[in-house]
Amino acid sequence: MTDTPTDRPEGPADGRSDGRTEGPTDLRTDGPTEGPTDRRTDRPTDRPTDRPTAGRTEGPINRPTPAPAPVPAPALEATALGKRFGRRGRRALQDCTFHLPAGRVCAVVGHNGAGKSTLLALAAGLLAPSEGTVTVLGTTPAAARARVGYVAQDKPLYPQLSVAETLRMGADLNPGRWDEVTADRIVAAGDLDPRARIRSLSGGQRTRVALALALGKRPELLLLDEPMADLDPLARHQLMGTLMAQAAQYGTTIVMSSHVVAELEDSCDHLLLMGGGRVRLAGEIDELTAGHTRVAVTADTDLAPHTVVESRTTGRQLSALIRPAGPLPHEWRTGTPTLEELVLSYLRNPEAPGLAPVPDRAEEAAA
């Protein structure tokens, strides 16, 4: 390989051609750019966030639960969203309806092939839906692009650029928004030589550079597909801390997919559980776990009318995870499941009835 710094990147790493027309991570700002840090001005509505934003504090903290009365523009909203690859291809995604309020940190979990990556790519505007719509920050994915950071699963970067050149490219492609301090700090925390070429980096180091690019853009919505998969435990914890700090400081909405549910439990407050291309559970994690109960009863107990997600009989005991339809008998031993227990129960039982709230607005839209 020659050592000439190319100024015309040839495309994503290892020349994948999966229909992406963009460069590596989605970095471009298409429209006119705003002032450097004042990201609130370009919001569609000045929505109440329950987090402090840079340099000032919000008024009352009033977490919109359980009934978010006046619904501000959600960070992400899908209505009957579907995606089919090829004319007779498998439906990677179907009938997805959910909405994610702004300022949340949302975990997207599900089996391999559940549709997580497809959903994120649709939200990033890298794929076009076959059916339905997806709205990002109150507008179309294309129009929201300047305000959205996306890191694909394979962390595509230009292999021939150095780390420093990659960051400079981020600055050039995001005039007026680029947060050099944040980007530099993320890279520096990984002890990376700024002159090192991307191709010489390990998977985890590339992840770090890709996250630096995405966060340097100071996005309002950050879409991360398996962001932590390549990272060692220390880097994982540290980068997750960086993401949370970003959310705390700027109210950034973060959507991240992962297989490791336990790792997300403390960081995320919203869940999107996918299965078979559909949304099976969607909502605030606190509400979802509170809406389910682990019960241990005698084997002959009738669990009706409660919705049974999973049940198992061992000897004379019946253990189940249910969604209570009303008060439970006092003699039942009950407990609130952890997020991980909840997710695993649903994953083990693909036929269990889902609980993806269909918002009224979706009905209007579908009508």
Partner: protein, 144 residues
Amino acid sequence: MVEYRIDRHSGVATYVQIVQQTKQALRLGLLQPGDQLPTAREVVEATAINPNTVLKAYRELEREGLVEARRGLGTFVRRSLGTVAAEDSPLRAELHAWADRAREAGLDRDDVAALFTSVLDERFAVPVPVPVPVAETHSQGDPA
């Protein structure tokens, strides 16, 4: 300043851990009236927990009158929780002496913990966990 340590496997809700550790710091005199609690940003950067969890804990502390949020400045300690357990307190010294005697009597750590807990339960009412209202309007100062 207090540093929170989150134990994911303790079975105690994360925000409760922050509340408890703050109270512990107040009891030990590590935090005193006027001291500032770390900002949400600082806590989440170090612990990788969700920012709302920190805010929820701070709201709970505020509700109990232990801290106050000053708009644009941060969250500050309002009152202490008594410092009976300060390094030089007589009660602490007595407990030290008692622990030494327990060890001499052949008790191990678990025995001591069991004994202590049982006396604690005899003498003090078991605290009932306070349900925390989810939606509460408190101003929360927490500068970046």
